[in-house]
């Protein structure tokens, strides 16, 4: 089957600094990938290129048969199919939880308001905060906000979900409630790319772990082999540093 994400020789520069160095990566439908690596290794840049929050300079990226180019129409179509969850949630503070969830379906998907509300409640129930629908983001805990952010992305019925360090801004006791939602999502067969250092999560759901350093993919393996028996010097060093 044709991979849903195809990255071919993708490079990205920030001025002189090369953030991505000739990345080749294919992701199949329903595949779950965990990306890890030291800070500045380009892992966030990689997934941000997939919905064009960053523009790559060289190589090609194809999402579900559509190539990412400077073509606006195409871009918004792709973005509607790719959900993203950010480290700092990025909920819209001036809108209620419900409005946060219905905004994009109404305006980008053009669905009717009451359908959007039904959809929003469906996903709010799934992340178990339907009772908070009429509050504002500032009134929720970090873990609740991140679950709302996940529900907000799901309301667009994306084919792919990107997670950019979704638990690293959370208080420790709230990490689990967010990971639970992500595991549930993985079990339902969502295609997922997660930048995370949550090893337990990686072992539980990942089909592949990708280790990056200096803009390159250094190692690619299934999670058990990667964590127990890393092949590369740099992977070994990294794992020895993060496992206390």
């Amino acid at each position: 089957m044709e991979p849903i994400i195809k990255m071919n020789q993708v490079s990205k520069f920030f001025g002189e600094f090369q953030a991505l160095n000739k990345i080749d990566l294919n992701v199949n439908l329903k595949e779950k990938i965990v990306i890890c690596g030291p800070s500045g290794s380009g892992k966030s840049t990689l997934i941000r290129c997939l919905n064009r929050l960053e523009e790559h300079e060289e190589g090609t990226i194809t999402i579900d048969g559509m190539e990412l180019k400077d073509d606006v129409e195409n871009l918004e179509k792709i973005r509607a199919e790719v959900g993203m969850v950010f480290q700092h949630f990025n909920l819209f503070p001036h809108l209620s939880i419900l409005e946060n969830l219905t905004l994009a379906p109404i305006w980008a998907r053009k669905i009717k308001k009451h359908d959007a509300v039904d959809l929003a409640f469906h996903y709010l129930k799934r992340v178990q905060i339907a009772d908070q629908a009429h509050k504002y983001p500032g009134q929720l805990s970090g873990g609740q906000q991140q679950r709302v952010a996940i529900a907000r992305s799901l309301c667009m019925k994306p084919k792919i979900m990107l997670f950019d360090e979704p638990t690293s801004a959370l208080d420790p006791e709230m990490v689990k409630e967010v990971l639970d939602v992500m595991v549930q999502l993985a079990d339902e067969g969502m295609t997922m790319l997660c930048v995370t250092h949550e090893m337990g999560f990686a072992k539980k759901v990942a089909d592949r772990v990708i280790f990056m350093d200096e803009g390159k993919i250094i190692e690619e393996n299934n999670p058990d082999d990667f964590f127990d028996n890393p092949q590369h010097e740099r992977s070994k060093l990294f794992l020895s540093q993060i496992l206390y």
């Binding site: 819209f92 994009a104 980008a108 992305s153 667009m156």
Partner: protein, 343 residues
């Protein structure tokens, strides 16, 4: 009572220096108020003519009474004064009605347009049996209010577009906006009014000359837009990048992102400087005096030059200052109300 005495002891009379300062200031203000009160009320002349005023030591309120109509309405025909009064009344009603955010919808916008049209027809006349009053006979408070309110209504959205343009990725739009903002901000309003009055007719085709009031209004709108643009830009910059990215990632278009996510937050942040600009503009309208539009300030000055009533400029200035203060205070209160409404 006991609590008040304790409060005074703790706050006004704590230590020798503090007590001395308090006593000095209280005495000074009591003295100043006493004199002012004597001048304004006890020794003043409310009814009478200029001679009666000159013999008294107090304020000449008779002068203000005699000139009130002229100060408020300028050369607007005396028999038609009810028209600007009703116009101002309509304006106050719609403004008061609009104070609650929950009432802001499309219908309210249409109501504003409708009221604007009614006010214009009422002031200008020439229809429905109303005597036509040309704009050069408009003056006083309606003129000042119109210049300020119409100025704000137009310069607010123009300022928003300029601020967005300044952040645009398209170089042509970006530099056009930057050039406009910097150019206008680098020129005093008074010179723009002058240009609108003297130079603009030179550039327009012969025989086509919009009236002076309209030209002054356009100059004010152009001027304030540049300031509004910078106010709005301040708000746009205060919005975290994550908000833009989240809106982008959901597939919203640029205009959807701005209208639904960024501007509602940015404009809320800049309510205080926006109110500041509005108050500044309200007072700056008094500069139209240099192109001989009879705004509130000019009607006041003209009143002082009436040969029957020479020498009462203090009364006139205090009177017009009071009017300006009342309106600026209303704008400021409205600003605080909006801050509460949008919290």
């Amino acid at each position: 009572m006991k609590a008040k005495i304790r409060w005074a002891k703790d706050n006004l009379f704590k230590g020798y220096f503090n007590s001395a300062l308090s006593i000095f200031l209280i005495t000074f203000f009591a003295w100043a108020f006493y004199n002012f009160f004597n001048w304004l009320v006890i020794d003043s002349v409310l009814l009478g003519d200029a001679d009666a005023c000159r013999q008294a030591s107090g304020a000449c309120l008779a002068f203000i009474v005699d000139k009130t109509r002229f100060i408020f309405f300028g050369f607007y025909p005396e028999t038609e004064i009810w028209r600007p009064i009703i116009a101002i009344f309509i304006f106050f009603i719609i403004t008061f009605y609009s104070r609650l955010k929950s009432r802001w919808n499309r219908r309210l916008l249409y109501n504003w347009m409708y009221c604007g049209l009614v006010i214009w027809l009422l002031m200008r006349g020439g229809y429905f049996g109303l005597v036509k009053v040309e704009t050069h006979n408009w003056g006083g408070l309606p003129l000042t209010l119109m210049l300020a309110v119409v100025g704000m209504i137009f310069s607010y959205p123009i300022g928003i577009f300029l601020a967005l343009g300044r952040q645009s990725k398209l170089p042509l739009i970006k530099y056009l906006c930057v050039a406009y903002i910097e150019l206008i901000r680098g020129v005093p309003l008074i010179s723009m009014l002058f240009m609108s009055s003297v130079m603009m007719p030179l550039f327009l085709p012969e025989g086509y000359s919009p009236d002076k009031l309209m030209r002054a209004q356009v100059a004010i709108i152009m001027f304030i837009s540049a300031y509004m643009a910078e106010v709005v830009r301040g708000g746009l910059q205060a919005i975290p990048r994550g908000q833009y990215e989240a809106a982008d990632a959901m597939g919203l278009t640029y205009w959807q992102k701005m209208r639904l996510v960024i501007l509602p937050q940015a404009l809320k942040i800049v309510i205080p400087p926006t109110v500041n600009t509005a108050i500044g503009m309200f007072k700056d309208t008094s500069l139209v005096i240099i192109i001989a539009l009879f705004d509130l300030m000019y009607t006041t000055k003209a009143s002082m030059q009436d040969s029957n009533w020479l020498g009462f400029s203090v009364e006139a200035y205090l009177f017009v200052a009071l009017i300006y203060f009342v309106f600026c205070n209303m704008i400021s209160r409205m600003g605080r109300l909006f801050e509460k409404e949008f919290r």
